[in-house]
Protein backbone atom coordinates (compact mmCIF):
# COMPACT_ATOMS: atom_id res chain seq x y z
CA UNK A 1 0.00 0.00 0.00
CA UNK A 2 1.61 3.24 -1.07
CA UNK A 3 1.16 6.00 1.46
CA UNK A 4 0.32 9.34 -0.07
CA UNK A 5 1.13 12.47 1.91
CA UNK A 6 0.07 15.74 0.37
CA UNK A 7 2.65 18.38 -0.39
CA UNK A 8 0.82 20.93 1.77
CA UNK A 9 0.96 18.65 4.77
CA UNK A 10 4.71 18.15 4.33
CA UNK A 11 5.32 21.91 3.98
CA UNK A 12 3.20 22.61 7.07
CA UNK A 13 5.11 20.02 9.08
CA UNK A 14 8.45 21.41 7.96
CA UNK A 15 7.38 24.95 8.89
CA UNK A 16 6.53 23.84 12.42
CA UNK A 17 9.84 22.02 12.73
CA UNK A 18 11.78 24.96 11.36
CA UNK A 19 10.29 27.28 13.98
CA UNK A 20 11.13 24.74 16.66
CA UNK A 21 14.73 24.56 15.43
CA UNK A 22 15.03 28.33 15.56
CA UNK A 23 13.70 28.34 19.12
CA UNK A 24 16.46 25.98 20.20
CA UNK A 25 19.24 28.02 18.74
CA UNK A 26 18.01 31.38 19.88
CA UNK A 27 17.72 30.07 23.43
CA UNK A 28 21.07 28.35 23.64
CA UNK A 29 24.36 30.09 23.10
CA UNK A 30 27.69 28.47 23.90
CA UNK A 31 31.19 27.98 21.57
CA UNK A 32 33.01 26.03 18.91
CA UNK A 33 35.58 26.51 16.18
CA UNK A 34 35.29 26.37 12.44
CA UNK A 35 37.19 23.62 10.64
CA UNK A 36 40.61 24.58 9.34
CA UNK A 37 41.20 25.83 5.81
CA UNK A 38 41.88 23.13 3.27
CA UNK A 39 41.73 22.33 -0.43
CA UNK A 40 41.17 18.87 -1.90
CA UNK A 41 41.55 17.81 -5.51
CA UNK A 42 40.21 14.38 -6.34
CA UNK A 43 40.01 11.99 -9.28
CA UNK A 44 37.28 9.38 -9.05
CA UNK A 45 36.68 6.31 -11.14
CA UNK A 46 33.80 3.81 -11.02
CA UNK A 47 33.77 0.75 -13.24
CA UNK A 48 31.26 -2.05 -13.04
CA UNK A 49 28.10 -3.50 -14.58
CA UNK A 50 28.92 -1.98 -17.98
CA UNK A 51 29.21 1.52 -16.53
CA UNK A 52 32.34 3.60 -16.47
CA UNK A 53 32.12 6.89 -14.62
CA UNK A 54 35.06 9.08 -13.83
CA UNK A 55 36.06 12.70 -13.44
CA UNK A 56 37.59 15.29 -11.15
CA UNK A 57 36.29 16.94 -8.03
CA UNK A 58 37.51 19.95 -6.04
CA UNK A 59 36.58 21.05 -2.54
CA UNK A 60 37.91 24.27 -1.00
CA UNK A 61 37.08 25.75 2.36
CA UNK A 62 38.52 29.04 3.58
CA UNK A 63 37.90 31.15 6.62
CA UNK A 64 37.32 34.80 5.88
CA UNK A 65 37.43 35.61 9.60
CA UNK A 66 37.46 33.47 12.75
CA UNK A 67 33.66 33.33 12.56
CA UNK A 68 32.91 33.06 8.85
CA UNK A 69 34.05 30.40 6.38
CA UNK A 70 33.24 29.76 2.74
CA UNK A 71 33.17 26.46 0.91
CA UNK A 72 33.15 25.71 -2.81
CA UNK A 73 32.73 22.30 -4.40
CA UNK A 74 32.88 21.15 -7.98
CA UNK A 75 32.26 17.64 -9.24
CA UNK A 76 32.17 16.11 -12.72
CA UNK A 77 30.86 12.69 -13.75
CA UNK A 78 31.77 11.55 -17.24
CA UNK A 79 29.53 8.57 -17.85
CA UNK A 80 29.65 5.89 -20.51
CA UNK A 81 26.93 3.35 -20.01
CA UNK A 82 26.34 -0.06 -21.47
CA UNK A 83 24.55 -1.38 -18.40
CA UNK A 84 22.27 -4.40 -18.47
CA UNK A 85 19.17 -2.13 -18.68
CA UNK A 86 20.63 -0.25 -21.59
CA UNK A 87 21.77 -3.37 -23.46
CA UNK A 88 18.36 -5.03 -23.23
CA UNK A 89 16.24 -2.12 -24.49
CA UNK A 90 18.45 0.70 -25.83
CA UNK A 91 21.90 1.63 -27.10
CA UNK A 92 25.00 2.47 -25.08
CA UNK A 93 25.30 6.19 -24.37
CA UNK A 94 27.66 8.78 -22.94
CA UNK A 95 26.85 11.85 -20.90
CA UNK A 96 28.25 14.28 -18.37
CA UNK A 97 27.00 15.54 -15.05
CA UNK A 98 28.36 18.77 -13.59
CA UNK A 99 27.73 19.63 -10.00
CA UNK A 100 28.63 22.77 -8.08
CA UNK A 101 28.05 23.84 -4.49
CA UNK A 102 28.73 27.08 -2.64
CA UNK A 103 28.38 27.38 1.10
CA UNK A 104 28.89 29.75 3.98
CA UNK A 105 29.37 28.92 7.66
CA UNK A 106 28.87 31.31 10.51
CA UNK A 107 30.11 30.69 14.03
CA UNK A 108 28.55 32.37 17.03
CA UNK A 109 29.91 31.13 20.37
CA UNK A 110 29.12 27.42 20.21
CA UNK A 111 26.62 27.60 17.39
CA UNK A 112 27.61 26.97 13.78
CA UNK A 113 25.09 27.84 11.11
CA UNK A 114 25.71 26.91 7.50
CA UNK A 115 23.88 27.59 4.30
CA UNK A 116 24.63 26.13 0.89
CA UNK A 117 23.28 26.17 -2.62
CA UNK A 118 23.83 23.38 -5.07
CA UNK A 119 23.24 22.69 -8.73
CA UNK A 120 23.63 19.48 -10.70
CA UNK A 121 23.30 19.67 -14.45
CA UNK A 122 22.94 16.92 -17.05
CA UNK A 123 21.55 17.06 -20.62
CA UNK A 124 18.22 15.83 -19.36
CA UNK A 125 18.22 16.61 -15.64
CA UNK A 126 18.70 19.86 -13.75
CA UNK A 127 18.69 19.69 -9.95
CA UNK A 128 18.93 22.76 -7.73
CA UNK A 129 18.80 22.74 -3.96
CA UNK A 130 19.26 24.87 -0.85
CA UNK A 131 20.44 23.51 2.50
CA UNK A 132 20.49 25.02 5.95
CA UNK A 133 22.27 23.35 8.87
CA UNK A 134 22.84 24.42 12.44
CA UNK A 135 24.88 22.73 15.14
CA UNK A 136 25.33 23.49 18.80
CA UNK A 137 27.87 22.30 21.36
CA UNK A 138 26.42 21.90 24.83
CA UNK A 139 26.76 20.20 28.20
CA UNK A 140 30.45 21.02 28.63
CA UNK A 141 31.04 20.26 24.94
CA UNK A 142 30.24 16.60 25.49
CA UNK A 143 27.20 16.90 23.28
CA UNK A 144 26.69 18.38 19.85
CA UNK A 145 23.21 18.75 18.45
CA UNK A 146 22.69 19.42 14.77
CA UNK A 147 19.65 20.05 12.63
CA UNK A 148 19.23 20.67 8.93
CA UNK A 149 16.71 21.37 6.25
CA UNK A 150 17.04 21.13 2.46
CA UNK A 151 14.79 21.92 -0.44
CA UNK A 152 15.46 20.72 -3.96
CA UNK A 153 13.77 21.29 -7.29
CA UNK A 154 14.39 19.08 -10.33
CA UNK A 155 13.65 19.68 -14.02
CA UNK A 156 13.51 16.45 -15.97
CA UNK A 157 13.73 16.13 -19.73
CA UNK A 158 14.01 13.23 -22.15
CA UNK A 159 16.65 13.37 -24.87
CA UNK A 160 15.12 13.04 -28.32
CA UNK A 161 11.69 14.22 -27.13
CA UNK A 162 11.47 18.01 -27.06
CA UNK A 163 7.89 17.96 -25.79
CA UNK A 164 8.82 16.09 -22.61
CA UNK A 165 9.20 18.29 -19.52
CA UNK A 166 8.53 17.15 -15.97
CA UNK A 167 9.36 18.37 -12.48
CA UNK A 168 9.87 17.04 -9.01
CA UNK A 169 10.55 18.54 -5.59
CA UNK A 170 12.32 17.22 -2.54
CA UNK A 171 12.30 18.28 1.11
CA UNK A 172 14.84 16.89 3.56
CA UNK A 173 14.81 17.35 7.30
CA UNK A 174 17.57 15.94 9.48
CA UNK A 175 18.65 15.94 13.08
CA UNK A 176 21.63 14.44 14.82
CA UNK A 177 23.32 14.22 18.15
CA UNK A 178 27.02 13.55 18.79
CA UNK A 179 27.88 12.42 22.27
CA UNK A 180 31.23 11.93 23.98
CA UNK A 181 30.73 8.77 26.04
CA UNK A 182 34.19 8.06 27.43
CA UNK A 183 37.67 9.46 26.83
CA UNK A 184 37.97 6.91 23.96
CA UNK A 185 34.44 6.58 22.64
CA UNK A 186 32.00 8.87 20.87
CA UNK A 187 28.62 8.03 19.39
CA UNK A 188 26.36 9.71 16.90
CA UNK A 189 22.67 9.24 16.21
CA UNK A 190 21.25 10.79 13.03
CA UNK A 191 17.79 10.77 11.56
CA UNK A 192 16.61 12.16 8.25
CA UNK A 193 13.21 12.37 6.61
CA UNK A 194 12.98 12.89 2.86
CA UNK A 195 9.76 13.78 1.04
CA UNK A 196 9.61 13.71 -2.76
CA UNK A 197 6.77 14.74 -4.99
CA UNK A 198 6.33 15.04 -8.75
CA UNK A 199 7.78 12.97 -11.55
CA UNK A 200 9.91 10.33 -9.86
CA UNK A 201 10.34 7.87 -12.75
CA UNK A 202 13.34 7.46 -14.91
CA UNK A 203 11.91 8.68 -18.26
CA UNK A 204 13.82 6.08 -20.28
CA UNK A 205 13.37 2.89 -18.28
CA UNK A 206 10.83 0.25 -19.20
CA UNK A 207 9.31 -2.77 -17.51
CA UNK A 208 8.86 -6.08 -19.29
CA UNK A 209 5.79 -8.28 -19.42
CA UNK A 210 4.81 -11.63 -20.85
CA UNK A 211 3.42 -11.22 -24.36
CA UNK A 212 2.72 -14.48 -26.17
CA UNK A 213 1.45 -12.67 -29.26
CA UNK A 214 4.96 -11.80 -30.39
CA UNK A 215 7.82 -14.22 -31.19
CA UNK A 216 10.14 -12.99 -28.40
CA UNK A 217 7.40 -13.64 -25.83
CA UNK A 218 8.18 -10.41 -24.00
CA UNK A 219 6.84 -6.90 -24.40
CA UNK A 220 8.04 -3.62 -22.92
CA UNK A 221 6.17 -0.60 -21.57
CA UNK A 222 7.25 2.56 -19.75
CA UNK A 223 7.72 2.51 -15.98
CA UNK A 224 5.16 4.35 -13.90
CA UNK A 225 5.90 5.39 -10.31
CA UNK A 226 3.72 7.06 -7.67
CA UNK A 227 4.09 10.84 -7.55
CA UNK A 228 5.08 10.92 -3.89
CA UNK A 229 7.71 9.15 -1.90
CA UNK A 230 8.45 9.65 1.79
CA UNK A 231 11.34 8.00 3.56
CA UNK A 232 12.93 7.92 6.94
CA UNK A 233 16.49 6.89 7.82
CA UNK A 234 18.12 6.39 11.21
CA UNK A 235 21.84 5.94 11.57
CA UNK A 236 23.88 5.05 14.63
CA UNK A 237 27.63 5.55 14.48
CA UNK A 238 30.40 5.06 17.00
CA UNK A 239 34.14 5.86 16.95
CA UNK A 240 36.52 4.14 19.33
CA UNK A 241 40.15 5.02 20.01
CA UNK A 242 42.26 1.90 20.43
CA UNK A 243 45.08 1.92 23.01
CA UNK A 244 47.86 1.61 20.39
CA UNK A 245 46.68 4.72 18.45
CA UNK A 246 44.25 3.39 15.92
CA UNK A 247 40.57 4.08 15.39
CA UNK A 248 37.62 1.76 14.99
CA UNK A 249 34.37 2.94 13.38
CA UNK A 250 30.93 1.39 13.39
CA UNK A 251 27.85 2.47 11.45
CA UNK A 252 24.38 1.01 11.27
CA UNK A 253 21.52 2.54 9.28
CA UNK A 254 17.90 1.51 8.99
CA UNK A 255 15.81 2.92 6.16
CA UNK A 256 12.15 2.61 5.22
CA UNK A 257 9.92 4.41 2.77
CA UNK A 258 6.33 4.71 1.59
CA UNK A 259 7.10 2.43 -1.37
CA UNK A 260 7.57 -0.35 1.18
CA UNK A 261 11.31 -0.58 0.71
CA UNK A 262 13.26 -1.36 3.85
CA UNK A 263 17.01 -1.51 4.07
CA UNK A 264 19.74 -2.17 6.60
CA UNK A 265 23.37 -1.36 6.19
CA UNK A 266 26.20 -1.99 8.55
CA UNK A 267 29.80 -0.85 8.21
CA UNK A 268 32.99 -1.40 10.13
CA UNK A 269 36.05 0.76 9.54
CA UNK A 270 39.55 0.76 10.88
CA UNK A 271 42.22 3.47 10.61
CA UNK A 272 45.79 2.67 11.53
CA UNK A 273 48.74 5.08 11.39
CA UNK A 274 52.15 3.68 10.48
CA UNK A 275 54.96 5.91 11.63
CA UNK A 276 54.39 9.63 11.29
CA UNK A 277 53.57 9.75 7.60
CA UNK A 278 51.21 6.92 6.69
CA UNK A 279 47.65 6.04 7.59
CA UNK A 280 45.97 2.85 6.47
CA UNK A 281 42.19 2.47 6.28
CA UNK A 282 40.15 -0.69 5.92
CA UNK A 283 36.40 -1.02 5.72
CA UNK A 284 33.72 -3.62 5.19
CA UNK A 285 30.08 -2.74 4.54
CA UNK A 286 27.03 -4.90 4.02
CA UNK A 287 23.84 -3.50 2.52
CA UNK A 288 20.51 -5.24 2.07
CA UNK A 289 17.16 -3.93 0.85
CA UNK A 290 13.69 -5.29 0.08
CA UNK A 291 11.90 -4.41 -3.14
CA UNK A 292 9.35 -1.68 -3.81
CA UNK A 293 5.74 -2.77 -3.57
CA UNK A 294 5.17 -2.13 -7.28
CA UNK A 295 8.41 -3.72 -8.54
CA UNK A 296 8.45 -6.85 -10.66
CA UNK A 297 11.13 -8.41 -12.82
CA UNK A 298 8.48 -9.68 -15.25
CA UNK A 299 4.85 -8.57 -15.19
CA UNK A 300 2.25 -11.18 -16.24
CA UNK A 301 0.70 -8.92 -18.91
CA UNK A 302 0.65 -5.30 -20.12
CA UNK A 303 -0.70 -2.70 -17.64
CA UNK A 304 -0.76 -5.39 -14.96
CA UNK A 305 -1.02 -2.83 -12.15
CA UNK A 306 -1.36 0.92 -11.69
CA UNK A 307 2.31 1.45 -10.77
CA UNK A 308 5.09 -0.41 -12.55
CA UNK A 309 8.84 -0.57 -11.91
CA UNK A 310 11.74 -2.70 -13.03
CA UNK A 311 14.56 -0.53 -11.81
CA UNK A 312 17.10 -2.82 -10.17
CA UNK A 313 17.75 -0.10 -7.58
CA UNK A 314 14.16 -0.73 -6.39
CA UNK A 315 14.54 -4.52 -6.37
CA UNK A 316 15.47 -6.91 -3.59
CA UNK A 317 19.26 -7.04 -3.44
CA UNK A 318 22.29 -7.03 -1.21
CA UNK A 319 25.80 -5.77 -1.65
CA UNK A 320 29.13 -6.21 0.05
CA UNK A 321 31.84 -3.55 -0.04
CA UNK A 322 35.46 -4.17 0.83
CA UNK A 323 37.56 -1.06 0.91
CA UNK A 324 41.11 -0.02 1.64
CA UNK A 325 42.90 3.27 1.60
CA UNK A 326 46.27 4.80 2.27
CA UNK A 327 47.12 8.38 3.14
CA UNK A 328 50.68 9.62 2.86
CA UNK A 329 51.66 12.84 4.61
CA UNK A 330 54.03 14.50 2.16
CA UNK A 331 57.45 15.47 3.46
CA UNK A 332 58.20 19.17 3.65
CA UNK A 333 60.31 19.28 0.47
CA UNK A 334 57.38 17.94 -1.62
CA UNK A 335 54.75 20.24 -0.13
CA UNK A 336 54.00 23.93 -0.67
CA UNK A 337 56.26 25.91 1.64
CA UNK A 338 55.66 24.83 5.19
CA UNK A 339 52.04 23.87 4.53
CA UNK A 340 50.87 20.39 5.44
CA UNK A 341 49.72 18.28 2.53
CA UNK A 342 48.89 14.66 1.91
CA UNK A 343 47.92 12.27 -0.86
CA UNK A 344 45.34 9.53 -0.46
CA UNK A 345 44.37 6.53 -2.54
CA UNK A 346 41.16 4.65 -1.73
CA UNK A 347 39.91 1.53 -3.49
CA UNK A 348 36.52 -0.09 -2.90
CA UNK A 349 35.23 -3.29 -4.46
CA UNK A 350 31.44 -3.62 -4.34
CA UNK A 351 29.63 -6.88 -5.13
CA UNK A 352 25.96 -6.47 -6.01
CA UNK A 353 23.69 -9.52 -5.90
CA UNK A 354 20.13 -9.09 -7.15
CA UNK A 355 17.56 -11.52 -5.80
CA UNK A 356 14.69 -10.66 -8.16
CA UNK A 357 16.25 -9.01 -11.17
CA UNK A 358 17.11 -11.34 -14.01
CA UNK A 359 19.66 -10.69 -16.72
CA UNK A 360 17.53 -10.34 -19.88
CA UNK A 361 20.62 -10.80 -22.04
CA UNK A 362 21.24 -14.28 -20.55
CA UNK A 363 19.91 -17.58 -21.86
CA UNK A 364 17.13 -19.59 -20.25
CA UNK A 365 13.97 -18.10 -21.72
CA UNK A 366 11.83 -15.21 -20.52
CA UNK A 367 11.56 -15.22 -16.73
CA UNK A 368 14.07 -18.06 -16.34
CA UNK A 369 17.30 -16.22 -17.03
CA UNK A 370 19.98 -16.24 -14.36
CA UNK A 371 19.75 -13.63 -11.61
CA UNK A 372 21.87 -10.57 -12.26
CA UNK A 373 24.90 -9.51 -10.28
CA UNK A 374 28.09 -7.60 -10.86
CA UNK A 375 31.21 -6.22 -9.20
CA UNK A 376 32.28 -2.61 -9.28
CA UNK A 377 35.70 -1.10 -8.64
CA UNK A 378 35.65 2.39 -7.17
CA UNK A 379 38.86 4.37 -6.95
CA UNK A 380 39.47 7.77 -5.40
CA UNK A 381 42.87 9.45 -5.61
CA UNK A 382 43.17 12.85 -4.01
CA UNK A 383 45.54 15.53 -2.83
CA UNK A 384 44.75 17.55 0.30
CA UNK A 385 46.40 20.82 1.27
CA UNK A 386 45.91 22.43 4.67
CA UNK A 387 46.61 26.15 4.83
Amino acid sequence: MVVVVTKNKVIKTLNVLFMAVLSIFTTLSQAAVLDSDRADVLYHNYEGGGMKIDGPSILVRKKATETIAFTAYYYLDTISSASVDVLSTASPYSEERNEGQLGIEYLNDKTIMSFSVRQSDEDDFLAQSLSFNVSQDMFGDLTNLNLGLSYGDNDIKRNGDESFAEQSEQYRLRAGINQVLTRNLTANLSIEAVADSGYLNNPYRTVRYVDNTIPSGVGYQAELYPETRNSFATKLSASYYLPYRAALFFHYRYFSDSWEIESNDIELGYRHPIGDNIELELKVRHYQQSQAEFYSDLFPYQDAQNYLARDKELSDFNSLTLGMGMTYLLPQQLSFGDLRSEVTLQWDVIDFNYNNFRDPTADGGVGNESLYGFSANVIRAFFSLYF
Binding site: L173, A247, Y287, L314, G325, Q346, R380
Partner: protein, 78 residues
Protein backbone atom coordinates in the same frame (compact mmCIF):
# COMPACT_ATOMS: atom_id res chain seq x y z
CA UNK B 1 7.60 8.79 10.11
CA UNK B 2 7.79 12.58 9.82
CA UNK B 3 5.71 12.57 13.03
CA UNK B 4 8.54 10.82 14.87
CA UNK B 5 10.99 13.46 13.74
CA UNK B 6 8.55 16.20 14.82
CA UNK B 7 8.39 14.69 18.28
CA UNK B 8 12.18 14.63 18.64
CA UNK B 9 12.62 18.22 17.46
CA UNK B 10 9.73 19.53 19.57
CA UNK B 11 11.10 17.75 22.63
CA UNK B 12 14.49 19.37 22.08
CA UNK B 13 12.78 22.74 21.68
CA UNK B 14 10.93 22.23 24.93
CA UNK B 15 14.13 21.33 26.75
CA UNK B 16 15.87 24.42 25.44
CA UNK B 17 12.94 26.76 26.14
CA UNK B 18 12.51 25.53 29.68
CA UNK B 19 16.15 26.21 30.38
CA UNK B 20 17.10 22.59 31.05
CA UNK B 21 19.93 22.78 28.52
CA UNK B 22 21.51 25.78 30.21
CA UNK B 23 21.93 23.89 33.48
CA UNK B 24 25.60 23.50 34.23
CA UNK B 25 26.38 19.86 33.58
CA UNK B 26 29.66 18.61 34.99
CA UNK B 27 31.42 16.98 32.01
CA UNK B 28 32.39 13.42 32.93
CA UNK B 29 35.16 13.51 30.32
CA UNK B 30 37.19 16.61 31.17
CA UNK B 31 38.60 18.77 28.37
CA UNK B 32 42.16 17.64 29.24
CA UNK B 33 41.05 14.01 28.90
CA UNK B 34 39.96 14.40 25.28
CA UNK B 35 43.32 14.19 23.53
CA UNK B 36 42.50 10.74 22.12
CA UNK B 37 39.14 11.92 20.80
CA UNK B 38 40.81 14.99 19.28
CA UNK B 39 43.36 12.87 17.37
CA UNK B 40 42.76 13.41 13.59
CA UNK B 41 42.57 9.64 13.06
CA UNK B 42 39.27 9.68 15.01
CA UNK B 43 37.56 12.09 12.63
CA UNK B 44 34.69 10.66 10.60
CA UNK B 45 35.13 13.64 8.28
CA UNK B 46 38.89 13.14 7.93
CA UNK B 47 38.43 13.08 4.11
CA UNK B 48 35.27 15.09 3.37
CA UNK B 49 35.69 15.04 -0.42
CA UNK B 50 35.93 11.23 -0.36
CA UNK B 51 32.88 10.94 1.90
CA UNK B 52 30.88 13.01 -0.59
CA UNK B 53 31.89 10.70 -3.41
CA UNK B 54 31.06 7.56 -1.43
CA UNK B 55 27.61 8.97 -0.57
CA UNK B 56 26.99 9.82 -4.24
CA UNK B 57 28.06 6.35 -5.48
CA UNK B 58 25.79 4.62 -2.98
CA UNK B 59 22.76 6.88 -3.36
CA UNK B 60 22.76 6.35 -7.13
CA UNK B 61 22.65 2.55 -6.70
CA UNK B 62 20.64 1.96 -3.56
CA UNK B 63 17.06 2.86 -2.68
CA UNK B 64 18.14 4.07 0.76
CA UNK B 65 18.83 7.76 1.20
CA UNK B 66 19.29 10.10 4.12
CA UNK B 67 21.32 10.20 7.34
CA UNK B 68 24.58 9.68 5.42
CA UNK B 69 26.32 12.25 7.56
CA UNK B 70 27.55 14.37 4.64
CA UNK B 71 25.23 17.34 5.07
CA UNK B 72 22.50 16.19 2.72
CA UNK B 73 21.20 17.63 -0.50
CA UNK B 74 20.37 14.60 -2.56
CA UNK B 75 21.82 12.79 -5.49
CA UNK B 76 20.69 15.06 -8.30
CA UNK B 77 20.83 12.24 -10.76
CA UNK B 78 18.56 9.82 -12.55
Amino acid sequence: MIKHLCKVVLLLSFISLTGCASLSVEPWVKPYERQNLADPIMRLSRHPIANMHVAHVLEAREAARGAEGTGGGGCGCN
